[in-house]
Protein backbone atom coordinates (compact mmCIF):
# COMPACT_ATOMS: atom_id res chain seq x y z
CA UNK A 1 0.00 0.00 0.00
CA UNK A 2 1.27 3.44 -0.92
CA UNK A 3 1.22 6.35 1.52
CA UNK A 4 0.56 9.88 0.42
CA UNK A 5 -0.75 13.14 1.73
CA UNK A 6 -3.05 15.96 0.71
CA UNK A 7 -2.30 19.66 0.62
CA UNK A 8 -5.15 22.12 0.34
CA UNK A 9 -3.80 25.11 -1.56
CA UNK A 10 -5.55 28.43 -1.97
CA UNK A 11 -4.47 32.04 -2.53
CA UNK A 12 -0.79 31.12 -2.32
CA UNK A 13 -1.04 29.34 1.02
CA UNK A 14 -1.79 25.85 2.29
CA UNK A 15 -4.68 25.13 4.63
CA UNK A 16 -6.05 22.20 6.58
CA UNK A 17 -9.72 21.33 6.46
CA UNK A 18 -11.48 19.92 9.51
CA UNK A 19 -14.87 18.21 9.29
CA UNK A 20 -15.56 19.84 5.92
CA UNK A 21 -16.54 23.09 7.69
CA UNK A 22 -13.45 24.67 9.21
CA UNK A 23 -10.16 25.70 7.69
CA UNK A 24 -6.99 26.10 9.67
CA UNK A 25 -3.82 27.67 8.27
CA UNK A 26 -0.96 25.30 7.44
CA UNK A 27 1.92 27.14 5.77
CA UNK A 28 3.76 27.84 2.58
CA UNK A 29 3.50 25.34 -0.26
CA UNK A 30 7.22 25.03 -0.88
CA UNK A 31 8.13 24.43 2.78
CA UNK A 32 5.46 21.74 2.97
CA UNK A 33 6.73 20.13 -0.24
CA UNK A 34 10.36 20.31 0.95
CA UNK A 35 9.55 18.41 4.11
CA UNK A 36 7.18 15.96 2.50
CA UNK A 37 10.05 15.14 0.13
CA UNK A 38 12.22 14.39 3.18
CA UNK A 39 9.51 12.09 4.53
CA UNK A 40 9.77 10.11 1.29
CA UNK A 41 6.07 9.79 0.64
CA UNK A 42 4.75 8.01 -2.41
CA UNK A 43 2.56 10.87 -3.59
CA UNK A 44 1.24 14.30 -2.74
CA UNK A 45 -2.22 15.43 -3.83
CA UNK A 46 -2.59 19.18 -4.12
CA UNK A 47 -6.21 20.28 -4.06
CA UNK A 48 -7.17 23.81 -5.06
CA UNK A 49 -10.80 24.40 -4.05
CA UNK A 50 -12.52 26.53 -6.70
CA UNK A 51 -15.44 28.88 -6.15
CA UNK A 52 -17.48 30.80 -8.70
CA UNK A 53 -15.65 33.85 -10.07
CA UNK A 54 -12.42 32.64 -8.50
CA UNK A 55 -10.04 35.36 -9.67
CA UNK A 56 -7.03 33.90 -7.85
CA UNK A 57 -7.22 30.45 -9.44
CA UNK A 58 -4.92 31.22 -12.35
CA UNK A 59 -2.48 32.99 -10.04
CA UNK A 60 -2.35 29.89 -7.85
CA UNK A 61 -1.66 27.74 -10.90
CA UNK A 62 1.25 30.04 -11.72
CA UNK A 63 2.56 29.57 -8.19
CA UNK A 64 2.13 25.83 -8.49
CA UNK A 65 4.08 25.80 -11.75
CA UNK A 66 7.08 27.17 -9.82
CA UNK A 67 6.81 24.55 -7.06
CA UNK A 68 9.65 22.08 -6.71
CA UNK A 69 9.16 18.55 -5.48
CA UNK A 70 10.76 15.20 -6.12
CA UNK A 71 7.63 13.40 -4.93
CA UNK A 72 4.99 12.54 -7.55
CA UNK A 73 2.29 15.22 -7.49
CA UNK A 74 -1.37 15.07 -8.37
CA UNK A 75 -3.44 18.20 -8.85
CA UNK A 76 -7.14 18.68 -8.46
CA UNK A 77 -9.56 21.59 -8.46
CA UNK A 78 -11.36 23.53 -11.14
CA UNK A 79 -10.96 20.93 -13.90
CA UNK A 80 -14.49 21.10 -15.21
CA UNK A 81 -14.33 21.88 -18.91
CA UNK A 82 -12.14 21.43 -21.97
CA UNK A 83 -10.99 25.05 -21.58
CA UNK A 84 -9.80 24.29 -18.07
CA UNK A 85 -7.47 21.61 -19.41
CA UNK A 86 -5.64 24.20 -21.49
CA UNK A 87 -4.49 26.18 -18.45
CA UNK A 88 -3.14 23.07 -16.72
CA UNK A 89 -0.36 22.94 -19.30
CA UNK A 90 3.04 23.07 -17.61
CA UNK A 91 2.01 22.05 -14.13
CA UNK A 92 4.72 19.91 -12.49
CA UNK A 93 2.27 17.09 -11.82
CA UNK A 94 1.91 13.46 -12.84
CA UNK A 95 -1.81 13.06 -12.33
CA UNK A 96 -5.04 15.04 -12.29
CA UNK A 97 -7.75 14.70 -9.69
CA UNK A 98 -11.29 15.06 -10.96
CA UNK A 99 -14.40 15.50 -8.89
CA UNK A 100 -17.13 17.65 -10.49
CA UNK A 101 -16.88 15.95 -13.86
CA UNK A 102 -17.65 12.58 -12.26
CA UNK A 103 -21.24 13.85 -12.08
CA UNK A 104 -21.35 14.90 -15.76
CA UNK A 105 -23.02 12.84 -18.46
CA UNK A 106 -20.59 14.35 -20.93
CA UNK A 107 -17.28 12.48 -20.67
CA UNK A 108 -15.32 14.76 -22.98
CA UNK A 109 -13.13 16.27 -20.25
CA UNK A 110 -12.05 12.88 -18.94
CA UNK A 111 -11.53 11.53 -22.44
CA UNK A 112 -9.40 14.54 -23.39
CA UNK A 113 -7.19 14.07 -20.34
CA UNK A 114 -7.11 10.38 -21.09
CA UNK A 115 -5.79 10.89 -24.58
CA UNK A 116 -3.46 13.75 -23.68
CA UNK A 117 -1.82 12.42 -20.53
CA UNK A 118 -2.56 8.69 -20.51
CA UNK A 119 -4.78 6.30 -18.63
CA UNK A 120 -2.90 6.51 -15.37
CA UNK A 121 -3.19 10.27 -15.19
CA UNK A 122 -6.79 10.39 -13.98
CA UNK A 123 -7.77 10.08 -10.34
CA UNK A 124 -11.38 10.41 -9.27
CA UNK A 125 -12.15 12.21 -6.02
CA UNK A 126 -15.38 11.50 -4.15
CA UNK A 127 -15.95 13.36 -0.88
CA UNK A 128 -18.66 11.57 1.09
CA UNK A 129 -20.60 11.92 4.30
CA UNK A 130 -22.78 9.67 6.42
CA UNK A 131 -23.95 12.59 8.58
CA UNK A 132 -27.60 12.47 7.50
CA UNK A 133 -27.62 9.63 5.03
CA UNK A 134 -24.94 8.44 2.66
CA UNK A 135 -24.25 11.33 0.28
CA UNK A 136 -21.44 12.52 -1.95
CA UNK A 137 -20.30 16.08 -2.51
CA UNK A 138 -20.71 17.76 -5.88
CA UNK A 139 -18.28 20.66 -5.80
CA UNK A 140 -19.73 22.31 -8.91
CA UNK A 141 -23.09 22.57 -7.15
CA UNK A 142 -21.44 23.04 -3.75
CA UNK A 143 -23.76 20.57 -2.03
CA UNK A 144 -24.07 16.95 -0.98
CA UNK A 145 -26.32 14.78 -3.10
CA UNK A 146 -27.23 11.19 -3.73
CA UNK A 147 -24.44 8.87 -4.82
CA UNK A 148 -26.65 7.77 -7.72
CA UNK A 149 -25.84 11.07 -9.42
CA UNK A 150 -22.27 9.89 -10.09
CA UNK A 151 -21.71 8.79 -13.66
CA UNK A 152 -20.41 5.22 -13.45
CA UNK A 153 -18.84 5.45 -16.89
CA UNK A 154 -16.77 8.36 -15.63
CA UNK A 155 -15.60 6.33 -12.67
CA UNK A 156 -14.53 3.52 -14.94
CA UNK A 157 -12.21 5.87 -16.80
CA UNK A 158 -10.39 6.75 -13.58
CA UNK A 159 -7.18 4.90 -12.85
CA UNK A 160 -7.82 5.24 -9.11
CA UNK A 161 -10.55 6.81 -6.99
CA UNK A 162 -10.03 8.73 -3.74
CA UNK A 163 -12.80 8.19 -1.22
CA UNK A 164 -12.60 11.16 1.12
CA UNK A 165 -14.48 10.95 4.42
CA UNK A 166 -15.71 14.51 5.08
CA UNK A 167 -17.01 13.60 8.55
CA UNK A 168 -13.62 12.28 9.71
CA UNK A 169 -11.59 14.89 7.83
CA UNK A 170 -8.89 16.41 10.00
CA UNK A 171 -9.20 13.66 12.59
CA UNK A 172 -6.71 10.89 13.28
CA UNK A 173 -9.28 8.12 13.13
CA UNK A 174 -12.82 7.58 11.95
CA UNK A 175 -12.63 6.72 8.25
CA UNK A 176 -15.89 4.96 7.41
CA UNK A 177 -15.07 2.02 5.17
CA UNK A 178 -18.81 1.46 4.70
CA UNK A 179 -18.50 3.86 1.79
CA UNK A 180 -17.24 1.04 -0.42
CA UNK A 181 -20.41 -1.00 -0.11
CA UNK A 182 -22.54 2.12 -0.61
CA UNK A 183 -20.85 2.93 -3.89
CA UNK A 184 -20.92 0.43 -6.68
CA UNK A 185 -17.24 0.71 -7.32
CA UNK A 186 -14.26 -1.44 -8.15
CA UNK A 187 -12.57 -1.99 -4.80
CA UNK A 188 -9.20 -2.75 -6.41
CA UNK A 189 -8.28 0.84 -7.21
CA UNK A 190 -9.25 2.84 -4.14
CA UNK A 191 -7.43 5.48 -2.15
CA UNK A 192 -8.74 6.25 1.34
CA UNK A 193 -8.54 9.73 2.82
CA UNK A 194 -9.91 11.45 5.92
CA UNK A 195 -9.43 10.10 9.43
CA UNK A 196 -6.88 7.45 8.53
CA UNK A 197 -3.56 8.56 10.04
CA UNK A 198 -3.71 6.69 13.37
CA UNK A 199 -5.25 3.67 11.68
CA UNK A 200 -2.17 3.41 9.51
CA UNK A 201 0.25 4.26 12.30
CA UNK A 202 -1.25 1.60 14.55
CA UNK A 203 -1.29 -0.95 11.75
CA UNK A 204 -5.03 -1.46 12.09
CA UNK A 205 -7.14 -2.93 9.34
CA UNK A 206 -10.01 -0.99 7.79
CA UNK A 207 -11.44 -4.20 6.34
CA UNK A 208 -10.56 -3.39 2.77
CA UNK A 209 -6.99 -2.96 1.59
CA UNK A 210 -6.80 0.25 -0.46
CA UNK A 211 -4.06 0.85 -3.01
CA UNK A 212 -3.08 4.01 -1.22
CA UNK A 213 -3.81 6.13 1.84
CA UNK A 214 -3.79 9.93 1.92
CA UNK A 215 -2.95 11.12 5.42
CA UNK A 216 -4.15 14.69 4.83
CA UNK A 217 -1.79 17.14 6.49
CA UNK A 218 -1.03 14.84 9.42
CA UNK A 219 2.36 13.93 8.01
CA UNK A 220 3.52 17.39 9.02
CA UNK A 221 2.13 17.19 12.55
CA UNK A 222 4.91 14.94 13.78
CA UNK A 223 8.47 14.12 12.93
CA UNK A 224 7.59 11.22 10.73
CA UNK A 225 10.04 9.47 8.55
CA UNK A 226 8.91 6.95 5.99
CA UNK A 227 9.88 4.24 8.46
CA UNK A 228 7.48 5.58 11.08
CA UNK A 229 4.46 4.84 8.96
CA UNK A 230 5.79 1.96 6.95
CA UNK A 231 7.18 0.34 10.05
CA UNK A 232 3.66 0.19 11.42
CA UNK A 233 2.36 -1.65 8.40
Amino acid sequence: MRIGTTLLFQDGYCYQSYGWNMLRPLGTLQNALNHLDKYELDEISIIRPVRDNDYYYKKDLQRLKKAKSSTPLAFGGGIRSLDDIMILEGLPVERFILSSVLFDKDLSVIKRLHSKYGEQSIVGFIPFSFKNQFEVFNSRKNCFQSAHSINESALQLCDEVVLHDCDAEGRNIGFNAGVVSNLEINSNNLIFSGGVSEIVRNGESIGIEPKSILIENKILHRENSKKTYYGAM
Binding site: Y15, L23, N31, N172, L220, E223
Partner: protein, 395 residues
Amino acid sequence: MAQCKACLYTTDHPFGLTLTDGLCSGCITHREKYSINWDNKYQELESIANWAKGRSKSYDCIVPVIGDAEDYYVVSKVLELDLNPLIVSVNSYFLNDIGWANLQNLITYFDLDSWIHNPEIYTYKELIKTSLRKYNHMYLPWLQLHTSFPVHVAKEKKIPLIVWGANQAVEQVGKFSHHDKAEMSSWSRVEHDLFGNDIEALMGNGAQVNERKINYYRYPSITNLGKNIRGIYLSNYMHWDPIKQNHSTLAFGFIPESNRYTFDPYERAGSSVYYGVHDLLKYERLGYKKIKDHITRDLRHGRIQFAESEHLLRLYMAQKTSLFQFKAFFDWLQVSDSGFEWYLGHKILRSKELLAPECSERILISELPSGLQELVSPGQEPSELYLKFYKGIHI
Protein backbone atom coordinates in the same frame (compact mmCIF):
# COMPACT_ATOMS: atom_id res chain seq x y z
CA MET B 1 -7.15 41.49 5.51
CA ALA B 2 -9.89 40.93 8.07
CA GLN B 3 -9.91 41.01 11.87
CA CYS B 4 -11.37 38.40 14.18
CA LYS B 5 -14.54 39.60 15.87
CA ALA B 6 -13.29 38.43 19.28
CA CYS B 7 -9.56 39.30 19.36
CA LEU B 8 -6.97 41.64 17.84
CA TYR B 9 -5.51 39.26 15.28
CA THR B 10 -5.93 39.79 11.57
CA THR B 11 -5.68 37.37 8.68
CA ASP B 12 -2.19 38.63 7.79
CA HIS B 13 -0.73 37.07 10.95
CA PRO B 14 2.70 35.61 10.08
CA PHE B 15 1.60 32.12 11.17
CA GLY B 16 -1.54 32.41 8.98
CA LEU B 17 -5.05 32.83 10.34
CA THR B 18 -8.46 31.80 9.11
CA LEU B 19 -11.91 33.12 9.97
CA THR B 20 -15.01 30.97 10.36
CA ASP B 21 -18.17 33.05 10.78
CA GLY B 22 -15.95 35.96 11.79
CA LEU B 23 -14.17 34.03 14.53
CA CYS B 24 -10.49 33.28 14.04
CA SER B 25 -8.90 29.85 14.15
CA GLY B 26 -6.97 30.97 17.26
CA CYS B 27 -10.12 31.86 19.21
CA ILE B 28 -11.91 28.69 18.07
CA THR B 29 -8.96 26.62 19.27
CA HIS B 30 -8.75 28.57 22.53
CA ARG B 31 -12.42 27.72 23.20
CA GLU B 32 -11.52 24.03 22.97
CA LYS B 33 -9.78 24.52 26.31
CA TYR B 34 -13.14 24.79 28.07
CA SER B 35 -14.57 21.56 26.64
CA ILE B 36 -11.53 19.28 26.76
CA ASN B 37 -11.34 16.72 29.54
CA TRP B 38 -7.88 17.71 30.76
CA ASP B 39 -7.66 14.75 33.13
CA ASN B 40 -7.74 12.48 30.09
CA LYS B 41 -5.14 14.62 28.36
CA TYR B 42 -2.88 14.41 31.40
CA GLN B 43 -3.19 10.63 31.32
CA GLU B 44 -2.02 10.73 27.71
CA LEU B 45 0.93 12.81 28.88
CA GLU B 46 1.70 10.27 31.60
CA SER B 47 1.68 7.53 28.94
CA ILE B 48 4.27 9.46 26.93
CA ALA B 49 6.35 9.98 30.09
CA ASN B 50 6.17 6.27 30.85
CA TRP B 51 7.26 5.50 27.28
CA ALA B 52 10.30 7.74 27.77
CA LYS B 53 11.33 6.46 31.19
CA GLY B 54 14.22 4.06 31.09
CA ARG B 55 14.71 4.19 27.34
CA SER B 56 17.99 6.00 27.85
CA LYS B 57 20.80 5.23 30.25
CA SER B 58 21.33 8.91 30.88
CA TYR B 59 18.21 11.12 30.96
CA ASP B 60 14.52 10.55 30.26
CA CYS B 61 14.04 13.86 28.48
CA ILE B 62 15.50 17.18 27.50
CA VAL B 63 13.92 20.48 28.48
CA PRO B 64 15.22 23.29 26.26
CA VAL B 65 15.28 26.50 28.30
CA ILE B 66 16.22 30.16 28.16
CA GLY B 67 15.58 30.85 31.83
CA ASP B 68 12.05 32.15 31.23
CA ALA B 69 9.17 31.81 33.68
CA GLU B 70 7.63 29.29 31.28
CA ASP B 71 10.76 27.14 31.63
CA TYR B 72 10.28 27.03 35.40
CA TYR B 73 6.70 25.90 34.88
CA VAL B 74 7.66 23.25 32.32
CA VAL B 75 10.45 21.88 34.50
CA SER B 76 8.12 21.70 37.51
CA LYS B 77 5.61 19.70 35.45
CA VAL B 78 8.31 17.40 34.05
CA LEU B 79 9.42 16.61 37.59
CA GLU B 80 5.81 15.98 38.62
CA LEU B 81 5.79 13.33 35.90
CA ASP B 82 8.77 11.74 37.64
CA LEU B 83 11.01 12.27 34.61
CA ASN B 84 14.75 12.80 34.92
CA PRO B 85 15.45 15.79 32.64
CA LEU B 86 18.60 17.32 31.19
CA ILE B 87 18.33 21.09 30.93
CA VAL B 88 19.70 22.36 27.61
CA SER B 89 20.21 26.01 26.84
CA VAL B 90 21.82 27.93 24.02
CA ASN B 91 23.58 31.08 25.16
CA SER B 92 22.23 34.01 23.15
CA TYR B 93 24.79 36.36 24.74
CA PHE B 94 21.85 38.73 25.19
CA LEU B 95 20.97 37.93 28.80
CA ASN B 96 21.24 40.60 31.46
CA ASP B 97 21.92 39.90 35.12
CA ILE B 98 18.25 39.04 35.74
CA GLY B 99 18.24 36.56 32.85
CA TRP B 100 21.35 34.77 34.08
CA ALA B 101 20.10 34.74 37.66
CA ASN B 102 16.88 33.15 36.46
CA LEU B 103 18.68 30.55 34.37
CA GLN B 104 21.12 29.57 37.12
CA ASN B 105 18.39 29.57 39.76
CA LEU B 106 16.28 27.26 37.57
CA ILE B 107 19.13 24.75 37.53
CA THR B 108 20.00 25.05 41.22
CA TYR B 109 16.45 25.34 42.60
CA PHE B 110 15.35 22.14 40.89
CA ASP B 111 18.85 20.61 41.28
CA LEU B 112 19.21 19.45 37.67
CA ASP B 113 22.01 18.61 35.28
CA SER B 114 22.45 21.17 32.53
CA TRP B 115 24.25 21.79 29.26
CA ILE B 116 24.72 25.38 28.17
CA HIS B 117 25.98 25.70 24.62
CA ASN B 118 28.05 28.79 23.88
CA PRO B 119 28.07 29.35 20.11
CA GLU B 120 31.33 30.47 18.55
CA ILE B 121 30.97 34.23 18.74
CA TYR B 122 32.49 35.32 15.41
CA THR B 123 30.20 33.04 13.39
CA TYR B 124 27.21 33.95 15.55
CA LYS B 125 27.70 37.68 15.06
CA GLU B 126 28.29 37.27 11.33
CA LEU B 127 25.02 35.38 11.02
CA ILE B 128 23.17 38.03 13.00
CA LYS B 129 24.54 40.76 10.74
CA THR B 130 23.38 38.87 7.66
CA SER B 131 20.00 38.17 9.21
CA LEU B 132 19.58 41.87 9.97
CA ARG B 133 20.59 42.88 6.48
CA LYS B 134 18.43 40.34 4.67
CA TYR B 135 15.42 39.95 6.95
CA ASN B 136 15.56 42.74 9.54
CA HIS B 137 15.54 39.94 12.08
CA MET B 138 18.13 39.74 14.86
CA TYR B 139 17.03 36.47 16.47
CA LEU B 140 17.14 34.07 13.51
CA PRO B 141 20.59 32.57 14.23
CA TRP B 142 19.73 32.04 17.89
CA LEU B 143 16.35 30.56 16.99
CA GLN B 144 18.06 28.21 14.56
CA LEU B 145 20.30 27.02 17.39
CA HIS B 146 17.62 26.97 20.08
CA THR B 147 15.39 24.75 17.95
CA SER B 148 18.06 22.40 16.66
CA PHE B 149 20.74 22.05 19.36
CA PRO B 150 18.46 20.20 21.83
CA VAL B 151 17.58 17.75 19.02
CA HIS B 152 21.29 17.17 18.32
CA VAL B 153 21.85 16.49 22.03
CA ALA B 154 18.88 14.13 22.12
CA LYS B 155 20.22 12.25 19.14
CA GLU B 156 23.82 12.12 20.39
CA LYS B 157 22.89 11.06 23.91
CA LYS B 158 19.97 8.88 22.79
CA ILE B 159 17.45 10.77 24.92
CA PRO B 160 13.95 9.87 23.66
CA LEU B 161 11.89 12.90 24.60
CA ILE B 162 12.13 16.68 24.28
CA VAL B 163 9.58 18.65 26.27
CA TRP B 164 8.64 22.12 25.10
CA GLY B 165 6.12 24.41 26.77
CA ALA B 166 3.63 26.16 24.53
CA ASN B 167 3.08 25.41 20.89
CA GLN B 168 2.80 29.03 19.78
CA ALA B 169 1.22 28.11 16.45
CA VAL B 170 -1.64 26.51 18.35
CA GLU B 171 -1.89 29.10 21.10
CA GLN B 172 -1.79 32.12 18.82
CA VAL B 173 -3.56 31.18 15.60
CA GLY B 174 -5.00 27.71 16.22
CA LYS B 175 -3.00 26.12 13.50
CA PHE B 176 -3.86 22.74 14.94
CA SER B 177 -6.52 21.51 17.29
CA HIS B 178 -5.33 20.45 20.75
CA HIS B 179 -6.61 17.02 19.75
CA ASP B 180 -4.05 16.87 16.92
CA LYS B 181 -1.31 16.78 19.55
CA ALA B 182 1.05 18.35 17.03
CA GLU B 183 4.66 17.63 17.92
CA MET B 184 8.04 19.14 17.22
CA SER B 185 9.04 18.68 13.60
CA SER B 186 11.54 19.95 11.12
CA TRP B 187 8.66 21.40 9.09
CA SER B 188 7.16 23.23 12.07
CA ARG B 189 10.56 24.62 13.01
CA VAL B 190 11.10 26.19 9.60
CA GLU B 191 7.48 27.28 9.22
CA HIS B 192 6.92 28.80 12.66
CA ASP B 193 10.19 29.36 14.48
CA LEU B 194 12.28 30.45 11.52
CA PHE B 195 9.56 31.94 9.29
CA GLY B 196 10.83 29.96 6.34
CA ASN B 197 14.49 30.93 6.78
CA ASP B 198 16.71 28.01 7.69
CA ILE B 199 20.47 28.46 8.05
CA GLU B 200 20.96 28.08 4.30
CA ALA B 201 19.21 31.43 3.85
CA LEU B 202 22.04 33.10 5.76
CA MET B 203 24.84 31.37 3.91
CA GLY B 204 26.24 31.80 0.41
CA ASN B 205 26.34 35.47 -0.44
CA GLY B 206 25.42 36.27 3.14
CA ALA B 207 27.60 35.56 6.14
CA GLN B 208 31.29 34.88 5.60
CA VAL B 209 31.45 31.87 7.88
CA ASN B 210 33.05 28.49 7.92
CA GLU B 211 30.63 25.69 7.01
CA ARG B 212 32.20 23.49 9.68
CA LYS B 213 31.05 25.87 12.40
CA ILE B 214 27.37 25.80 11.63
CA ASN B 215 26.55 22.15 12.30
CA TYR B 216 24.39 22.92 15.32
CA TYR B 217 22.45 25.60 13.40
CA ARG B 218 21.18 22.82 11.16
CA TYR B 219 18.43 20.45 12.24
CA PRO B 220 19.70 16.86 12.33
CA SER B 221 18.67 14.37 9.70
CA ILE B 222 15.08 13.38 10.34
CA THR B 223 15.65 9.71 9.58
CA ASN B 224 14.49 7.75 12.63
CA LEU B 225 13.78 10.91 14.64
CA GLY B 226 10.04 10.22 14.59
CA LYS B 227 10.43 6.77 16.05
CA ASN B 228 13.28 7.30 18.46
CA ILE B 229 12.94 10.93 19.49
CA ARG B 230 9.71 12.81 20.07
CA GLY B 231 9.30 16.46 20.89
CA ILE B 232 6.04 17.30 22.63
CA TYR B 233 4.36 20.51 23.73
CA LEU B 234 2.85 20.54 27.21
CA SER B 235 0.18 23.02 26.07
CA ASN B 236 -1.53 20.15 24.22
CA TYR B 237 -1.99 18.27 27.48
CA MET B 238 -2.81 21.02 30.00
CA HIS B 239 -5.14 23.98 30.15
CA TRP B 240 -2.43 26.43 29.15
CA ASP B 241 -2.72 29.84 30.79
CA PRO B 242 0.67 31.55 30.51
CA ILE B 243 0.40 34.60 32.74
CA LYS B 244 -1.22 32.64 35.56
CA GLN B 245 1.36 29.87 35.26
CA ASN B 246 4.23 32.32 35.02
CA HIS B 247 3.01 34.20 38.08
CA SER B 248 3.05 30.93 39.99
CA THR B 249 6.78 30.50 39.28
CA LEU B 250 7.59 33.36 41.67
CA ALA B 251 7.36 30.65 44.33
CA PHE B 252 10.40 28.96 42.73
CA GLY B 253 12.43 32.16 42.91
CA PHE B 254 11.85 33.40 39.37
CA ILE B 255 12.61 37.12 39.07
CA PRO B 256 10.27 39.10 36.78
CA GLU B 257 11.70 42.08 34.93
CA SER B 258 10.18 45.53 34.89
CA ASN B 259 8.96 46.21 31.34
CA ARG B 260 7.74 49.36 29.61
CA TYR B 261 6.67 47.63 26.36
CA THR B 262 4.21 45.09 27.74
CA PHE B 263 2.32 44.45 30.95
CA ASP B 264 3.79 40.91 31.09
CA PRO B 265 6.96 40.99 33.25
CA TYR B 266 7.58 37.24 32.86
CA GLU B 267 7.89 36.38 29.18
CA ARG B 268 11.46 36.99 28.01
CA ALA B 269 12.38 38.60 31.30
CA GLY B 270 16.14 39.00 31.50
CA SER B 271 16.86 39.77 27.85
CA SER B 272 18.89 42.85 26.94
CA VAL B 273 17.31 43.00 23.50
CA TYR B 274 13.93 41.25 23.25
CA TYR B 275 11.65 44.23 23.75
CA GLY B 276 14.03 47.10 23.07
CA VAL B 277 15.43 45.82 19.77
CA HIS B 278 13.82 42.61 18.53
CA ASP B 279 10.27 43.80 19.17
CA LEU B 280 10.94 47.06 17.36
CA LEU B 281 12.21 45.10 14.36
CA LYS B 282 9.11 42.90 14.55
CA TYR B 283 7.03 46.06 14.24
CA GLU B 284 9.17 47.09 11.30
CA ARG B 285 8.61 43.74 9.54
CA LEU B 286 5.08 42.88 10.54
CA GLY B 287 3.44 46.06 11.75
CA TYR B 288 2.78 44.92 15.29
CA LYS B 289 4.63 44.24 18.53
CA LYS B 290 4.62 41.57 21.21
CA ILE B 291 2.06 43.50 23.22
CA LYS B 292 -0.58 42.52 20.66
CA ASP B 293 0.12 38.84 21.35
CA HIS B 294 -0.11 39.44 25.09
CA ILE B 295 -3.36 41.41 24.89
CA THR B 296 -4.95 38.83 22.58
CA ARG B 297 -3.84 36.02 24.88
CA ASP B 298 -5.44 37.58 27.96
CA LEU B 299 -8.44 38.81 26.01
CA ARG B 300 -9.15 35.17 25.23
CA HIS B 301 -8.63 34.25 28.88
CA GLY B 302 -11.19 36.88 29.86
CA ARG B 303 -8.83 39.13 31.81
CA ILE B 304 -9.17 41.97 29.33
CA GLN B 305 -12.48 43.06 27.83
CA PHE B 306 -12.63 43.64 24.09
CA ALA B 307 -13.55 47.28 24.68
CA GLU B 308 -10.37 47.74 26.78
CA SER B 309 -8.07 45.98 24.35
CA GLU B 310 -7.79 48.65 21.66
CA HIS B 311 -6.97 51.32 24.24
CA LEU B 312 -4.38 49.12 25.90
CA LEU B 313 -2.79 48.34 22.54
CA ARG B 314 -2.55 52.02 21.62
CA LEU B 315 -1.08 52.81 25.02
CA TYR B 316 1.74 50.29 24.71
CA MET B 317 2.33 50.72 20.98
CA ALA B 318 3.18 54.36 21.63
CA GLN B 319 5.96 53.43 24.07
CA LYS B 320 9.28 54.78 22.83
CA THR B 321 12.61 52.94 22.75
CA SER B 322 15.72 54.95 23.47
CA LEU B 323 18.09 55.37 20.57
CA PHE B 324 20.92 54.75 23.02
CA GLN B 325 19.44 51.35 23.98
CA PHE B 326 18.95 50.48 20.31
CA LYS B 327 22.51 51.47 19.39
CA ALA B 328 23.95 49.46 22.29
CA PHE B 329 22.97 46.32 20.41
CA PHE B 330 24.83 47.43 17.29
CA ASP B 331 27.84 48.29 19.43
CA TRP B 332 27.73 44.76 20.86
CA LEU B 333 27.56 43.49 17.29
CA GLN B 334 30.67 45.59 16.49
CA VAL B 335 28.91 47.54 13.78
CA SER B 336 30.60 50.85 13.02
CA ASP B 337 28.82 54.17 13.62
CA SER B 338 28.45 54.69 9.87
CA GLY B 339 27.03 51.17 9.54
CA PHE B 340 24.52 51.94 12.25
CA GLU B 341 23.52 55.18 10.49
CA TRP B 342 23.06 53.24 7.24
CA TYR B 343 20.85 50.72 9.04
CA LEU B 344 18.73 53.47 10.59
CA GLY B 345 18.35 55.18 7.24
CA HIS B 346 17.56 52.08 5.17
CA LYS B 347 16.00 49.49 7.46
CA ILE B 348 14.14 51.47 10.11
CA LEU B 349 11.23 53.11 8.39
CA ARG B 350 7.85 52.76 10.03
CA SER B 351 9.35 52.26 13.49
CA LYS B 352 11.44 55.43 13.26
CA GLU B 353 8.78 57.28 15.24
CA LEU B 354 9.21 54.79 18.08
CA LEU B 355 12.88 55.66 18.56
CA ALA B 356 13.52 58.64 20.83
CA PRO B 357 16.36 60.11 22.90
CA GLU B 358 14.74 58.72 26.06
CA CYS B 359 12.58 55.64 26.75
CA SER B 360 8.94 56.24 27.68
CA GLU B 361 7.91 56.01 31.30
CA ARG B 362 6.54 52.66 32.47
CA ILE B 363 2.81 52.16 32.48
CA LEU B 364 1.64 51.59 36.04
CA ILE B 365 0.00 48.35 37.08
CA SER B 366 -2.89 50.42 38.42
CA GLU B 367 -3.61 51.55 34.83
CA LEU B 368 -4.13 47.95 33.67
CA PRO B 369 -7.53 46.22 33.48
CA SER B 370 -8.46 44.92 36.93
CA GLY B 371 -8.47 41.31 35.68
CA LEU B 372 -4.75 41.52 35.02
CA GLN B 373 -3.51 43.43 38.03
CA GLU B 374 -3.30 40.57 40.51
CA LEU B 375 -1.16 38.49 38.11
CA VAL B 376 1.27 41.26 37.16
CA SER B 377 4.30 41.81 39.36
CA PRO B 378 6.28 45.06 39.31
CA GLY B 379 9.52 43.30 38.36
CA GLN B 380 13.14 44.29 38.91
CA GLU B 381 15.43 46.56 36.93
CA PRO B 382 18.52 44.96 35.38
CA SER B 383 21.88 46.37 36.38
CA GLU B 384 24.11 44.79 33.71
CA LEU B 385 23.31 44.10 30.04
CA TYR B 386 24.80 41.76 27.39
CA LEU B 387 26.46 39.40 29.83
CA LYS B 388 28.40 36.61 28.17
CA PHE B 389 28.13 34.43 31.22
CA TYR B 390 27.13 35.06 34.80
CA LYS B 391 26.56 32.75 37.68
CA GLY B 392 23.85 34.98 39.05
CA ILE B 393 23.75 33.40 42.47
CA HIS B 394 25.16 34.96 45.59
CA ILE B 395 26.77 32.59 48.05
